[in-house]
C-alpha cells in the first residue's frame, strides 16, 4: 500500500495522538502546551501535501483521490485549523481538561480533508461521520454552560438525521449503480427514480456539513454557544470539505437531470434564508453564524455550474479560501474580545480597540465582496462562472442577497465606528489572538490584491476521476 500517499493525514493522526499523550501528563495550567504538537503536525501535513502537489491519481484501491482538489482542501483546512487552534490556549486557560481539544480538532480536520479527498461513497460516509462525531464534542465543550450544551445537542440531533439520510442515499446509489467507487460511477446513467432519490439524499447529507438548507439550523447555535475557537473551526473547516465533496458528486453525474436545479434551488434558498435571518440579530455571534449560512449558498452557485463553466472549480476553491479567511478573522476578533457577543457591546469599538474594529470591518466588507479584498475576487469569480454556465438568474439572486447582507454587516459596523464607547475598553484575551487577527486581516487585503499567483495555481487544478 502506498502509505506515503496519505502522509498529511497520518501526520494529523500522529499529532493528535501526541497531543493526547501530552495532555495526560501535563498539569492543568500547562495544558496549552498541547498546541505545540498540534501545530507541528499541521505544519508537517501542509509541507507533505505541498510536496505531493503535482500528483494526479487515485490511490488506496481507488478510494482516495490524490489530485488538485485534495491538495487545496488539505492546504486550506490545515491553515484554517492552525489559526483556530492558536486561539485555544488562552481561551481555555481555566478549562479543566482542554488538552483533548487539540486532539479532537485535529481529528475533525482529518474528517473534513477526507470528505474532500474521498473517491468512494463509503469513504465519503466515513469522512462525514468522523467530522460530525468530533464536531458534536467540540460544540458542547463548555459542558456547564447551557448554551454550549444546547449547541452541541442541536448539532447532534440534526447531524444524526442528516447522516442517516446520507447513508440511505449512498446505499440507494450503490444499489442502483452496482459500485461505490467514483471511477466506476463516473458518467453512469442515473435516471432511475431510486438513484435520483439517492443522489438527493446524499446532497442533503452533505448540505448539513456545508451548513446549507435543509441541514443549516445548527449553524447559528454553534456560532453562539460553542467555544469561540471551536465555532470558528466548525463554521469553516467542514464547509470546505463538504463543498468540494459536493463538487465531486456533480462532476461524477454531470448529466443527472435534477441535480443542478436542485443545487441551484438550495443555493438560492440558503443564501436568502441566511441573510433574512441575520437581518435583525442583536447577537454578533449568531449574526456571523447566519451570515455563514448565506455564504454556503454562494458557494453552491459554483457547484451548480460544475463543469458547465471552465473556471467553476478554481473559483469555488478561491471563494472558499476567501470565506474561510474572513470568517476566521471575525471569530478571532470575537475571541480577542473574550467572546463579547451583544451588539451593544461593540459600540465605539473603533475608539477603544481600533485594531479589532478595523479587522472586523475588513472581514465583513470581504464577506460582502468589496474590492480589493479577497472576498471580492472570490465573489467576482462566482458571478463569472455562474453567468458563463448559463445560470444568470442565480447570479442575480446572489446580487440581491449581497445587498441585503450589507445591511446587517452595517448594523455592526455603524455602532462600532460611529457611536461613542459606553465605558472602559473591553477586556482582551491576549497576544496570540491579537496576532491571529492582525495576520488574517492583513491577508484579507494582501492576498486580495496579490491573488494572481495563487489564482494561477488554482486555475490549473485537476479533478479526478
Amino acid at each position: 500500500m502506498p502509505v506515503a500517499d496519505l502522509g498529511p493525514e497520518i501526520a494529523l493522526i500522529a499529532g493528535a495522538s501526541a497531543a493526547l499523550l501530552l495532555a495526560m501528563v501535563l498539569p492543568q495550567q500547562r495544558l496549552g502546551w498541547c498546541l505545540a504538537p498540534a501545530l507541528a503536525a499541521l505544519a508537517v501535513a501542509a509541507l507533505w501535501a505541498f510536496a505531493q502537489r503535482s500528483e494526479a491519481r487515485l490511490t488506496f484501491s481507488g478510494t482516495w483521490a490524490l489530485d488538485g482538489v485534495t491538495l487545496w482542501a488539505r492546504l486550506m483546512i490545515v491553515v484554517a485549523t492552525a489559526l483556530c487552534l492558536i486561539l485555544a490556549p488562552r481561551w481555555f486557560a481555566r478549562d479543566r481538561r482542554h488538552g483533548e481539544f487539540y486532539t479532537m480538532t485535529l481529528f475533525s480536520a482529518l474528517g473534513a480533508i477526507a470528505m474532500a479527498g474521498a473517491a468512494d461513497l463509503l469513504q465519503l460516509v466515513m469522512a462525514v461521520l468522523l467530522s460530525s462525531v468530533t464536531g458534536y464534542v467540540l460544540a458542547a465543550w463548555h459542558r456547564d454552560w447551557a448554551l454550549s450544551v444546547e449547541a452541541g445537542m442541536k448539532y447532534f440531533l440534526i447531524g444524526a438525521l442528516a447522516n442517516a439520510l446520507l447513508v440511505i442515499g449512498v446505499i440507494l446509489v450503490m444499489g442502483m449503480a452496482g459500485t461505490s467507487d467514483y471511477a466506476g460511477l463516473k458518467g453512469l446513467d442515473v435516471s432511475s427514480p431510486l438513484a435520483l432519490t439517492g443522489l438527493a439524499l446524499i446532497v442533503s447529507g452533505l448540505a448539513f456539513k456545508l451548513g446549507a438548507l435543509p441541514g443549516h439550523a445548527w449553524v447559528p447555535d454553534v456560532a453562539e454557544g460553542a467555544p469561540v475557537p471551536a465555532a470558528a473551526f466548525l463554521t469553516v473547516v467542514p464547509k470546505i470539505g463538504a463543498a468540494l465533496a459536493l463538487y465531486r458528486l456533480v462532476h461524477l453525474f454531470p448529466d443527472a437531470e435534477m441535480l443542478r436545479p436542485l443545487i441551484a434551488a438550495l443555493s438560492v434558498a440558503t443564501m436568502s434564508l441566511g441573510n433574512l435571518a441575520a437581518l435583525w440579530q442583536t447577537d454578533v455571534r449568531r449574526l456571523i453564524g447566519w451570515s455563514s449560512v448565506s455564504q454556503s449558498g454562494y458557494a453552491l452557485m459554483a457547484v451548480a455550474v460544475a463543469d458547465l463553466a471552465p473556471g467553476a472549480l478554481p473559483w469555488l476553491i478561491w471563494f472558499l479560501a476567501a470565506y474561510a479567511l474572513a470568517n476566521v478573522t471575525a471569530f478571532a476578533v470575537v475571541a480577542q474580545l473574550r467572546g463579547r457577543t451583544a451588539l451593544s457591546g461593540y459600540a465605539g469599538l473603533a475608539r477603544t480597540r481600533p485594531a479589532m474594529a478595523a479587522a472586523l470591518i475588513v472581514a465583513f466588507l470581504s464577506l460582502v465582496g468589496i474590492p480589493p479584498l479577497i472576498g471580492f475576487v472570490g465573489k467576482l469569480g462566482l458571478f463569472l462562472v455562474t453567468i458563463d454556465g448559463g445560470y444568470a438568474w442565480l447570479a442575480l439572486a446572489a446580487v440581491l442577497n449581497t445587498v441585503v447582507s450589507l445591511f446587517y454587516y452595517a448594523r455592526v459596523i455603524a455602532p462600532m465606528y460611529f457611536a461613542d464607547p459606553p465605558g472602559a475598553p473591553p477586556a482582551t484575551l491576549g497576544l496570540s489572538s491579537h496576532a491571529v487577527v492582525v495576520l488574517c486581516a492583513g491577508a484579507l487585503i494582501g492576498v486580495g490584491i496579490g491573488s494572481s499567483p495563487f489564482l494561477a495555481e488554482a486555475l490549473a487544478t485537476v479533478i479526478l476521476p
Binding site: I387, F407, A414, S451, A456
Partner: protein, 492 residues
C-alpha cells in the same frame, strides 16, 4: 503620472490612518497631497493632444488569468472630469471641518475617496472601474456616517445600500459583457473596438438594462434618486460637495464610457427611452426642488435636474449609429461641459450650505432672511453660483445646456421643448431661495451671523472664477473635449 495621481492619495490616506499625526499636520498633509494629485493631472493635461485617442497610458498586469490589468489613460471625455474632480477635492479638503472631531481620520477618508474617484475616471480597465466605483461608496459611507449630522447613520446606510445594489448590477453587466470576448479581456480600448454584443438582441438589451439601472442609481435619475436628498442633507458640507460634484459624475461617465461607447448599436436602439427617463428627471428634479423648504435639500434636488440634462446629452449623442453627426457631437460636448460645470457650481453651493450649517445648524429657509447686510460676500458667492446653476448666459452651465438643447432639438424636438420647462422652474426656485435668505426682515437670532472667512472666500472665489471663465471663454474646454466622431465611438 496618472498612476501617481491615483496612488498618491491612497498612500497618504494609509499614512494618516495608521501614523499618529496631529490634527493640524494631517490637514496640511491632506491639502498638499490633493494639490500634488491635481498637479500631476495638470502635467498630463499640458502634454495632451485633443482628439488623439487615449493618452498617457500605463499598463501593469494584475490578474492575467482574467485579462485584468492596471491600465490608466485619458481622453477628451475623462480628462476634463478628472481635472474638475482633482480641483474640487483640493477645495473640499481645504474647506474648514464642520465638526472638529477626529481630524486625522476625516482627512484620511477624504484622501481615500479622492484616490478612488480619480482612479475611476482615469482607469482603462473595466474591472478596476468597478473596484474604484465600490471603494468610493465605502469612503463616502464612513464620511457621512461619522462626520454627518441629524440622522447621518441612516442616510449613510441608505446611500450605501442603494448604490451597492446599483454597483452589483453593473458588475453583473460587466461580466456578461466581458464573457462575450475570447480570450477574456477587461481592457476598455479593446472592448470599444470589439463591440462585443453587436448584433445580439435580448442578451444585449439585458446587459444594457443592467448598466442603465446601475448608473441611474448613481447619477441619480428618477425614480431611483431617493437616496440622494437624505445623504446630502445629513452629510457634512465638503462631503456633500464631493458627493454632488464628483460621485454623481461617475454615473454619467459610466453611461457614456461603457453603455454608449462599448454597446453602440444597443444604446442607439434604446436611446429614446433613456432620453425620456432623463426628461422625467429634469422635470421631476426641478419641481420637487421647488417644493423644498430645506435649502440644502433644494440644492440636492437640483442635482437630479442637472444630471438629467447631462444624461439627455449622452442619449442624444448615442441616439443613432449614423446621421445627425454634428448635433450629436454638440450634445456630447455639452454633456461633458455640464459635468464639469455642475461639479464646480454645485460643489460651491454645497460648500456654502456647509458654511451656513457651521454658523446656525439650520437649513430651514423660513428661519433665514435679511442676511444681505451681515454677509455681503456670502450673498455674492451664493448669488453667482445660483445664477450659474439656473443657466444664466455668460456662466458655465449655459454653455453646456445650450449645446445639449441644440443637439436634442435636432433629434427629438418635442423632448427638448418639454425639457426647457425645467429651466424655468429652476430659475424660479433659485431666485426664491436667494430672496428668502438674503432679503426681507432679519430674524433677531441671526444678528451675530458672520460673513465668509478668508479661507472660505478664497476657495469659493477660485471655483466661481472657473465657472465665469468657462462661461465667457469656453473654447479651451471644448478643445480639450474635442467631441468628434472619435469621441462618440471611443478614444477621442
Amino acid at each position: 503620472m496618472l498612476t501617481l495621481a491615483v496612488l498618491l492619495p491612497f498612500a497618504a490616506a494609509a499614512l494618516l490612518a495608521f501614523a499618529p499625526v496631529p490634527a493640524g499636520a494631517s490637514r496640511a498633509i491632506a491639502i498638499a497631497t490633493a494639490a500634488l494629485a491635481l498637479l500631476a493631472l495638470v502635467v498630463v493635461w499640458a502634454g495632451f493632444t485633443p482628439g488623439a485617442g487615449f493618452q498617457a497610458v500605463t499598463e501593469a498586469p494584475w490578474l492575467p488569468a482574467l485579462g485584468v490589468a492596471w491600465r490608466v489613460g485619458v481622453d477628451g471625455l475623462s480628462l476634463p472630469v478628472a481635472l474638475m474632480s482633482g480641483l474640487l477635492f483640493v477645495a473640499a479638503i481645504a474647506w474648514p471641518m464642520e465638526r472638529e472631531v477626529n481630524a486625522r481620520q476625516y482627512y484620511a477618508w477624504f484622501l481615500f475617496l479622492e484616490g478612488a474617484s480619480l482612479g475611476l475616471f482615469l482607469t482603462l480597465d473595466l474591472l478596476l472601474f468597478y473596484v474604484f466605483f465600490d471603494l468610493s461608496l465605502v469612503g463616502m459611507y464612513f464620511l457621512i456616517g461619522r462626520w454627518g449630522h441629524g440622522e447621518a447613520q441612516r442616510a449613510a446606510l441608505k446611500f450605501f445600500l442603494y448604490t451597492l445594489a446599483g454597483s452589483l448590477l453593473i458588475l453583473l453587466a460587466i461580466i456578461a459583457l466581458v464573457l462575450m470576448t475570447d480570450p477574456l479581456t477587461f481592457d476598455m480600448r479593446e472592448l470599444i473596438a470589439l463591440q462585443p454584443v453587436a448584433g445580439m438582441d435580448v442578451r444585449a438589451g439585458l446587459i444594457l438594462l443592467g448598466f442603465v439601472i446601475g448608473f441611474a442609481i448613481k447619477t441619480p435619475l428618477f425614480p431611483v434618486h431617493t437616496w440622494l436628498p437624505p445623504a446630502h442633507v445629513d452629510a457634512p458640507g465638503p462631503a456633500s460637495a464631493i458627493l454632488a460634484g464628483v460621485l454623481l459624475k461617475m454615473g454619467v461617465y459610466g453611461l457614456a464610457r461603457i453603455a454608449m461607447q462599448m454597446m453602440r448599436e444597443t444604446f442607439a436602439a434604446w436611446a429614446l427611452a433613456i432620453g425620456i427617463v432623463a426628461l422625467i428627471s429634469i422635470l421631476w428634479g426641478s419641481i420637487v426642488a421647488f417644493a423644498q423648504e430645506n435649502f440644502k435639500r433644494r440644492i440636492a434636488y437640483t442635482s437630479v435636474n442637472h444630471m438629467g440634462y447631462a444624461v439627455l446629452g449622452i442619449a442624444v449623442a448615442g441616439s443613432a449609429v449614423t446621421g445627425h453627426e454634428a448635433a450629436r457631437d454638440l450634445a456630447l460636448a455639452g454633456a461633458v461641459v455640464e459635468m464639469v460645470a455642475h461639479g464646480l457650481i454645485t460643489g460651491a453651493l454645497f460648500l456654502i450650505a456647509g458654511a451656513f450649517w457651521a454658523r446656525t445648524q439650520d437649513y430651514e429657509l423660513d428661519h433665514y432672511g435679511g442676511l444681505a447686510g451681515n454677509a455681503p460676500r456670502m450673498m455674492a458667492a451664493m448669488g453667482l453660483a445660483s445664477f450659474a446653476s439656473l443657466g444664466l448666459p455668460g456662466l458655465a452651465s449655459f454653455v453646456a445646456e445650450v449645446q445639449i438643447f441644440i443637439g436634442a432639438f435636432a433629434i427629438w424636438p418635442w423632448l427638448a421643448a418639454l425639457a426647457l420647462l425645467g429651466l424655468i422652474v429652476t430659475a424660479a426656485l433659485f431666485l426664491g431661495m436667494l430672496q428668502r435668505i438674503f432679503f426681507g426682515d432679519r430674524p433677531p437670532a441671526l444678528d451675530g451671523f458672520t460673513d465668509l472667512t478668508r479661507t472660505e472666500g478664497c476657495i469659493l472665489a477660485a471655483l466661481l472664477a472657473l465657472v465665469v471663465l468657462i462661461g465667457v471663454w469656453p473654447a479651451w474646454l471644448l478643445d480639450m473635449i474635442a467631441a468628434g466622431p472619435a469621441l462618440a465611438f471611443g478614444g477621442g
